[in-house]
Amino acid sequence: MINFDGENCILLPNFSRNAISTFQLKDLVNNNFVIETKVEVDWKKLNPEKQRMYGIVSLNGQDMGIFCNIYGDVKIVTAEVWTQKDVGVQNEIKLEVVDDILDIKFIYNHNKDLELVVNGKSEKINLDNVIDYQTSFLWIGCCNNNLGTPNHLTGNFLGNMNYLKISAGEKVFLESDFERVTDYKVYDKSGNGNHLLKKFLNEEGQITIF
């Protein structure tokens, strides 16, 4: 289990300093993939006036992934992806939930459809001309923490994550129960070497890739 306190987050960049991954993020995003995660949201601490969305799992840019927020008493989990024809279009699925602990599945068929399943409740939308996410980083526990991201769009999550698995068909891309960690990384059990980086900033305030 990993706790997100509104400051920390973890990430997988689209390259690695030691070029050690056998299944890179840029090879995942333009294919079909499924994100499965189990989170406990600290709904009381969420505030839509401070953050547009709180990121659970996100590919940054025109963000794609799983997000949440609370509006009054209404707890919402959102799946989002952007498409582009003449202009960019934000495609969303919003599911209202009642629980704190959520089993979430984000089922993406590239350029075809997207399905969001939360604690057994689901909704699906069709997609076409999805934008290219090959330059995105994968963020866990925020929307985007790159230097220069406006504060209200960083989306730093509040709550716990117990499990995360991303797979493409039969092939697991990344899997973690967050039990095996160092001060700087989270172990990826998939065998691809996609160990997640804890957020470290260099002197210029940029994310350190290592």
């Binding site: 690695s16 050690i20 700087y184 065998g191 160990h195 470290f200 290592f210």
Partner: protein, 472 residues
């Protein structure tokens, strides 16, 4: 062929500048021929840079000039070639790199080192006949060693010598460790009990050499079993004006009797406390974990070795321990455990006081010879295990390589990744003979040394049986 290359602004300007300076002297110029030497005093051989083959030191020369341990007539002729625009043939490793790629060759790297570059003018302005005190010296005083690691040789291990003298060469196709090669190349080691004129010359030269040294590294054999190692340490301790710029390094298998380990620690602690050197590094070796590591390095008691690493690191607050791991076929099944174990040491002994950024380094280099024991000999399905090991070190990596963090540095990760790259480049059609020799070698190994390959390496039993079944 001209080696004038187009260098971009993105290349390391230190190397670009050094290449330019060297080539103005000559396309074969390399400062290491003056500034660096490895002395194999047990056989009376030396070489400057590890790429050229070693050559014999003349006993007559060193009688009148002990610095001829390094400044041999043979080497001076090579220096003359370099100063007159020629490329010595013995340095063909670098010429191959320069003629076939845009990479910098090792002559550039070695000339740019802090033990070479400051002496550029002194070297190029001197006559080729002049003696020059090297700044980086590696020395083996003797081949006395209580270990006989499976890939080692009689020239570096007295226990290997005893075994070969008793049983002869191994029945591989290349007759591994046949003494006829040592005899042919005049590399029969002088036994420790006999007078060694090269060691005698070294001690005559040493007072003159000591204050010029940048780096001095004692190798072997097992240096802690050589009286000359202790003599060096005592010399450093006794100097009223010690060479405080010296980087002193000692290799040890850390498998010698406790009293010798304690004696080393006591002397190094005094050197450390009295600030008698710039830095102290102990190089040791292990290639796998537990019983498998013991099999590879015959003589090793794994638990005692690990205890001794802890003892060194806990007793010596500033010393750095570098593990030179000779990654070979038998390393593959259990190297993961070694990576985990070394990470624990890095965590426990991380300190702002160490000479280097990390208390412990795992320096993984692939075994090239003997061919029958390299990582390439294994079936290719083992390659992914090597990559997983590189990925594991990457998991243990640090965001920034300085004393505030503990973990694996990029170079430690890359060296394991390089083993994977090398293993996967294997030409499967050429590997049959090596596999045949693998079977022959370890069958004979078990017979001579009372070991049991299949019991220690159950993961490799099927492969071993296949090797034993090969008919050439």
């Amino acid at each position: 062929m001209s080696n004038k290359k187009q260098r971009s602004e993105f290349e390391n300007q230190i190397y670009v500048g050094m290449e330019d300076k060297l080539n103005k002297v000559g396309n074969g110029m390399c400062l290491a021929k003056w500034s660096q030497v490895t002395l194999h005093l047990q056989t009376g051989h030396n070489h400057s840079c590890h790429h050229p083959r070693t050559h014999k030191i003349s006993k007559t020369e060193i009688k009148r000039n002990p610095s001829a341990l390094h400044n041999t007539k043979y080497k001076k002729m090579r220096r003359r070639e370099m100063l007159t625009g020629k490329r010595p043939k013995e340095c063909d490793y670098c010429w191959a790199v320069e003629d076939n790629s845009d990479r910098f060759s090792d002559r550039i790297f070695k000339s740019a080192e802090s033990w070479s570059a400051p002496h550029f003018d002194e070297i190029v302005n001197a006559d080729w006949r002049e003696d020059f005190n090297p700044r980086y010296v590696e020395v083996a005083f003797s081949n006395t060693c209580n270990f006989k690691c499976s890939y080692c040789a009689p020239a570096f291990s007295s226990t290997w010598m005893e075994e070969i003298q008793k049983h002869g060469a191994y029945p591989t196709t290349d007759r591994f460790n046949d003494l006829k090669y040592n005899k042919f190349e005049d590399k029969m080691p002088i036994p420790n009990r006999e007078h060694n004129p090269y060691v005698e010359a070294f001690w005559k030269w040493w007072p003159d050499l000591y204050h010029d040294l940048h780096t001095f590294r004692i190798t072997g054999g097992e240096p802690l079993l050589s009286k000359d190692t202790w003599k060096v340490l005592d010399y450093v301790l006794e100097q009223k004006e010690p060479n405080k710029n010296l980087n002193l390094a000692i290799n040890s298998n850390l498998g010698v009797p406790d009293e010798l380990i304690d004696r080393m620690i006591e002397k190094l602690k005094r050197i450390e406390d009295e600030d008698r050197v710039r830095e102290l590094v102990i190089f040791t070796s292990i290639d796998s974990w537990g019983e498998q590591a013991e099999y590879i390095r015959n003589g090793l008691e794994f638990n005692r070795f690990w205890d001794n690493m802890n003892k060194v690191l806990s007793s010596l607050d500033r010393v750095v321990l570098t593990i030179m791991s000779t990654y070979n076929a038998l390393s593959v099944p259990n190297y993961t455990k070694l990576i985990d174990g070394v990470f624990d040491l890095k965590r426990i002994y991380a300190s702002q006081d160490r000479y280097w950024n990390s208390a412990v380094f795992l320096d993984s280099s692939y075994l090239r010879y003997p061919l029958h024991q390299t990582a390439q000999v294994l079936p290719r399905e083992w390659d992914i295990e090597i990559l997983r090991q590189a990925q594991l070190t990457d998991f243990y990596s640090v965001p920034k390589f300085d004393k505030d963090y503990f973990g694996y540095s990029d170079i430690e990760i890359q060296k394991i990744k390089r083993i994977y790259d090398w293993a996967t480049s294997t030409d499967e059609e050429k590997i049959l003979k090596q596999r045949y020799d693998f079977g022959k070698f370890f069958k004979e190994h078990d017979k001579r040394r009372g070991t049991n390959f299949k019991k220690v390496f159950p993961e490799l039993e099927e492969f071993y049986n296949d090797c034993l079944g090969i008919n050439l």
